[in-house]
């Protein structure tokens, strides 16, 4: 191959692939609007808040970012909106061990940011992030579950709390929660309205649960010692 031929191959070959890339870009742009809900004013304002505080300097979103703090793509599916808002405004008031500093978000900014994160969670990401393979099996071990365990799972308690290392770290660990001297009645009261016994709690109330479910869950919690 002569140098001239090699040069022409480089120039026209690159141009060829760039044109294909442009075509695909146009097609993708046309499809994007159909792959996520409409961008409302709050979502747009929330994106501005996301950028203002350089959130991506620690977090990832859609898997892109700084890998220093949790991915935010599906965070609203794991954490209640009320918790998120309180956390965003003052992380350590909610979770004393949080690494995130208090950045000074206003109440309005926190609402907008939660709207933005809610919008993000509804994007069709081709199934990402994948559901953990082993998590479904963890903690069950082939034994039949008690009613309390079932409620614990169906309500997604492990999104924030963890038992024996399985679960989230946003709320207090529950591995030995039965050893803290609180009885089942206290737990029922706490589950119905957390702030009635723990001032400033960021946990949402579960008053909508039936009395039976609340009692079963409380009974399960006091066995954790």
């Amino acid at each position: 191959m002569s140098n001239k031929a090699a040069r022409n191959l480089f120039i026209f070959g690159s141009l060829f692939f760039f044109v294909i890339f442009l075509g695909l870009t146009v097609d993708t742009m046309n499809q994007i609007d159909g792959r996520a809900p409409e961008v409302t004013k709050e979502v747009d304002a929330g994106k501005m808040v996301w950028q203002k505080y350089d959130c991506i300097g620690c977090h990832t979103i859609l898997g892109n970012g700084s890998y220093f703090a949790p991915d935010m793509t599906k965070v609203v599916e794991r954490k209640p909106a009320g918790y998120l808002k309180q956390f965003l405004m003052d992380p350590r008031a909610v979770k004393p061990t949080a690494a995130m500093p208090k950045l000074g978000l206003t109440s309005r900014e926190a609402d907008d940011l939660v709207a933005f994160l809610t919008w993000i969670s509804k994007i069709d990401t081709n199934g990402w992030p994948p559901k953990p393979m082993l998590a479904a099996a963890a903690g069950v071990g082939g034994k039949e579950q008690t009613r309390g365990q079932q409620v614990y799972q169906s309500q997604g308690c492990s999104n924030c709390h963890n038992i024996n290392g399985i679960g989230g770290t946003s709320g207090p660990e529950l591995t030995r929660v039965g050893a803290n001297g609180k009885d089942a009645a206290w737990h029922v009261k706490h589950l119905k309205e957390p702030r009635s016994v723990v001032p400033n709690s960021a946990m949402p109330p579960y008053a909508a649960l039936s009395n039976d479910d609340l009692k079963s869950l409380a009974a399960y919690l006091v066995t954790l010692k």
Partner: protein
């Protein structure tokens, strides 16, 4: 040995700025590494430190490439730079603009509320990874690059000696400048934001920058070994051609999971899997040419050139291909595996590239024929061994993270603060090793040619 054209010496200004920023980058990198263990250790939060770490990297590499271009184009065109004062002005204007941006980041880090919206855009930090520079700074950067490109084009027009090396180099730089533009507008839709953001990031580091690397590799092999231009330029065309044939559509490996259509799994997976091919070709090219070596006058220059080719392939190629397929990336996307790839790829492909160019061209800029190469080698081994271990520790952390978080479903924070703690500690220690290497290199940069050449080691 001295420069043929006095104006080539402008390269030294850019090199000096580059090596100082390199030192800054590594210093803040160590702070960031410690913040993985103790987030509250420093007055600035991690996000500001990390912004400084990656922006210093991009700017010093660009400054190094600009300096290299100011050296290469007059040499290839056989004439002085078209307008030397303009080049000098462009240098100082760039330094001032970058300093302002950095002060803005620090200010924002100390008081996030200072990052106000002005005319619909953030005043100090745009909050978009790698292109955090605010809109007003984007404008200044574009002006600086346009002045630079204009000066280089005019230099080439003076003699119209169109060589392949300078042609490809300038093509790469124009492509680089154009690919800055997709990052300069606001999208309300985060998917579109990320889509165009990858045009900048991917088409820089896996597109235009690799084209520049291909051209500079050919130039350095010609200078250090005296290899034939004909042969070098032919392989250069093939290499940079393959870089773009695979790299442009390879952008698709960033479009798997961000809300873009599924056909990118096929396109991105196929083309990005081929991206290591041109990088392997560059390694072969470097070895083939080196075997013909007769009289190598500048051994450290050649040493770094070959090392650049090898680590470009290992870091950008191998560490990239392990997680580029959508079936794998589904599990590794957004984990420390990406961080590991990022570190070795930037080190191999671009840090070593700029350092090679410095060792190849600096002796003639300083007007010395010979210099003591001991520090150049010492710096290389300190930096390279440390970086390899930094990358291995982060890769290990990434594997633990993928297994525990993605497969088992453990919480991100639990994995990071408990199970990966030892990896962070080791990484910080190797980071200090890297700092030692960089310090030796920077010291050597300032001493080279300014002390009597000692007996050869």
């Amino acid at each position: 040995m001295t420069v043929k054209y006095q104006s080539q010496k402008i390269a030294q200004y850019f090199y000096t700025f580059a090596v100082i920023l390199f030192l800054v980058q590594v210093l803040v990198g160590i702070i960031a590494a410690i913040q993985f263990i103790r987030p509250d250790i420093f007055i600035l939060n991690f996000n500001t430190i990390r912004t400084l770490h990656i922006n210093a990297l991009v700017v010093w590499l660009l400054a190094g490439m600009m300096g290299a271009t100011y050296y290469v184009v007059p040499e290839e065109s056989e004439t002085e730079v078209w307008n030397y004062p303009l080049a000098l002005f462009q240098f100082w204007a760039t330094v001032v603009a970058i300093t302002l941006v950095v002060l803005g980041y620090i200010w924002m880090g100390l008081d996030p509320q200072a990052n106000k919206l002005v005319l619909g855009t953030q005043l100090l930090n745009e909050g978009r990874e790698y292109i955090e520079a605010p809109r007003w700074a984007d404008g200044l950067i574009v002006i600086s690059v346009l002045l630079f490109l204009f000066n280089m084009f005019m230099t080439m027009f003076k003699t119209k000696k169109w060589t392949g090396i300078q042609g490809v180099l300038l093509f790469g730089l124009v492509f680089l400048a154009l690919m800055y533009l997709p990052g300069m507008f606001y999208s309300k839709n985060m998917i579109k934001d990320q889509f165009w953001w990858w045009w900048v990031i991917h088409l820089w580091v896996e597109g235009s920058w690799e084209v520049i690397a291909g051209a500079l590799l050919a130039f350095m092999l010609m200078k250090t070994i005296g290899a034939k231009r004909e042969v070098l330029e032919k392989w250069m065309y093939i290499e940079v051609g393959l870089v773009l044939f695979t790299g442009i559509l390879g952008t698709g490996h960033h479009y798997y999971f961000i809300g873009t259509p599924k056909y990118w799994h096929w396109i991105g997976g196929f083309f990005s899997s081929l991206e290591p091919v041109p990088l392997l070709l560059m390694v072969w090219d470097a070895f083939r040419t080196t075997r013909e070596a007769r009289n190598v006058t500048n051994k450290p220059g050649l040493f770094y050139t070959v090392a650049h080719a090898i680590f470009n392939f290992v870091g950008a190629g191998l560490w990239g291909i392990i997680h580029t397929l959508p079936q794998v990336n589904k599990w590794t996307h957004g984990t420390q595996i990406t961080t590991a790839h990022g570190h070795l790829a930037f080190y191999g492909a671009y840090v070593l590239l700029v350092i090679s160019m410095i060792y190849v061209t600096l002796p003639s800029i300083r007007g010395v024929k010979d210099y003591n190469p001991a520090r150049a080698y010492l710096a290389f081994w300190w930096m390279t061994i440390s970086m390899v271990f930094i990358v291995l520790t982060i890769t290990g952390a990434g594997m633990v993270q993928v297994y525990m978080e993605r497969l088992m479903g453990l919480d991100y924070v639990a994995v990071k603060t408990t199970y990966n703690l030892w990896f962070w500690i080791l990484r910080a220690i190797f980071g200090v090793g890297f700092l030692v290497g960089v310090s030796i290199f920077v010291y050597d940069f300032f001493k080279l040619g300014r002390e009597p050449a000692k007996q050869k080691a």
